[in-house]
């Protein structure tokens, strides 16, 4: 099948949607399909052969933060040409409610269109989704996919219609093996954390408080923290001085190093307090075979099979987290058990499985319809 996929965010910026598009495209190619992706990208960014650059994404304020998006008549023309030349059997747009390439693709295309909604849409954006130009675009979509139950719920309740839930995949084979960072995990044990450090919902403050409790009881225990942050001093300031040199901040790490980080710790912690629709990082840790301790929010409860494939602690409760971490650090047998359970559980999220689910949506929408074409009325520009 010839599949065209649109990515709304800049290819050169790391992000969940970009990674999803890349892994989906590669899994579909592995299955023998012909896939073309169009994405905003700087002109000098090296792109995989299946990606067409739609030009540089422009940073604009959207929804209270600055996003790098592709819009305007030049991007529209590029998308139109890509669709015209592609001869796709199906067009798969990601996040069509974002003012970027996917919305433009919906506008200029006709024929079978599948859309994936990645986030639970915040209230202020729901109003905009009912905005006529978006509405028209969304109405052309034949099949809708939500990556989580939360994303599906907002769609159903606020926009109407339904969507099938197909969770994010994890390219598990990338995670299976990696060299630990030199000197890790070390004698005293190590706990790992990945994610934006200055985003409170990622829960690092909860983990730091738990580390404060654990630190004195486990001499030599270290905390390995990877992720973007604005102010490390401010962050470490919250921890007692004698523990500070046992916390290692790596900053933002490459995809490769991220996997090495996962293999450098005895226990991985996902202390997120909310806002997580799937918990991709947690699933990646599972794919690396690291025992996971996660907050008991819905997303993690689901990925960890209610606690069978990893320990859950009461969301936001540092003492409970310290107890769970302490128990695991002292029990190698339990760690090995959880590692095996995590590997088995995460297989269900492997991209090869997920891509087959997505493909069956494609098969449904192409039934009895023609190939994707550009509409005559889809706003011609210069």
């Amino acid at each position: 099948m010839k599949i065209g996929i649109t990515c709304p965010y800049s290819w050169d910026v790391p992000g969940g949607v970009q990674q999803h598009v890349r892994d989906l495209a590669e899994a579909l190619i592995d299955e023998g399909h012909e896939v073309s992706v169009i994405s905003p990208a700087d002109d000098d960014t090296p792109l995989p052969p299946y990606v067409t650059g739609a030009g540089r994404a422009v940073p604009v304020p959207y929804n209270g933060s600055v996003a790098r998006l592709s819009f305007g008549f030049l991007s529209t023309n590029r998308v139109r040409r890509w669709i015209k030349d592609g001869g796709f059997d199906v067009l798969h747009v990601h996040e069509p409610e974002i003012p970027s390439l996917s919305l433009l693709a919906c506008w200029v295309a006709s024929g079978p269109i599948v859309a994936t909604f990645h986030t639970a849409i915040p209230r202020s954006r729901i109003l905009l989704v009912t905005y006529p130009v978006v509405r028209t675009g969304l109405e052309k979509i034949n099949g809708r996919i939500a990556v989580s139950e939360a994303a599906r719920t907002t769609l159903v309740e606020h926009i109407g219609g339904d969507a099938v839930v197909i969770p994010n995949g994890v390219a598990t084979r990338h995670y299976r093996k990696a060299e630990p960072l030199p000197g890790w995990p070390g004698e005293g044990g190590a706990i790992g954390f990945l994610g934006r450090l200055d985003e409170p919902r990622k829960g690092l403050p909860v983990l730091l408080r738990a580390f404060e409790i654990l630190g004195p009881r486990h001499p030599g225990l270290r905390l390995l923290v990877a992720g973007r942050y604005a102010d490390a001093d401010e962050l470490l300031h919250r921890v007692p001085a004698e523990l500070r040199d046992r916390i290692v901040l790596l900053g933002q790490v490459s995809e490769e190093d991220k996997i090495r980080v996962l293999h450098s710790v005895d226990v991985f912690c996902s202390p997120n307090t909310g806002g997580e629709s799937f918990g991709i990082v947690t699933a990646e840790a599972m794919a690396a075979g690291v025992p996971v301790v996660a907050s008991d929010i819905d997303a993690f409860r689901q990925v960890l099979r209610g606690g069978e494939a990893g320990e859950l602690f009461a969301n936001g409760d540092a003492e409970d987290l310290a107890r769970a971490l302490g128990r695991l650090l002292g029990d190698q047998g339990r760690r090995a058990e959880l590692s095996a359970a995590a590997l088995a559980a995460v297989a269900e999220y492997d991209w090869s499985v997920v891509a087959r689910g997505v493909y069956s949506v494609y098969e449904t929408v192409v039934l009895g319809s023609t190939e994707v074409a550009v509409t005559a009325s889809g706003g011609e520009f210069g």
């Binding site: 305007g72 030049l74 003012p99 919305l103 130009v133 706003g379 210069g382």
Partner: protein
Amino acid sequence: MITDIVIVIAAALFMGVYVSWRAGRIDRLHTRVDMARAALDATLLRRASVALELATSGLLDPATSLLLASAVHGTRDSRSTDRPRDLAESDLTRALRAAFSQPGFRTSMTGKDGADELLEEVEGAAHQVFLARKFYNDVVAATRDARGRPLARVLRLSGRARAPEFFEMDDSLVAENASTPLSL
């Protein structure tokens, strides 16, 4: 003796007149601040409404339309989203700038019904915001200066009126640096 009393009374009278003139001036300045603020609010509203008209005009691609509509929405909604007014208005400026600074933007619009008039109206409204904000900040500066003088502070000549705040925002439709349409 009598002359002394006369001098004292005259001095007191003069002081009284002077102080009340100073107090009156501060009061008048506060009134001017209120008027300038009302004028600024009116230009901001006007700019938001023409931006929304442009967004819904069908002249733009849907992504640009949505960006503009979302920015307009943000200015109206800044109370409920905790986004301060100045930031929300700056966001609208940046969204407009992102649309207007696309290479070949104006030429892509030529020949479309009503496009030139509408674009000029948006630019005009944006320029008015620039002017109104300048005038407002001028009178705020004068007022704060008058309130800050020692006599005004000691005698509390501004009464219970709060010191007016400057309104700072990004209001230029033209990027300072042509290669980057939006400075972060």
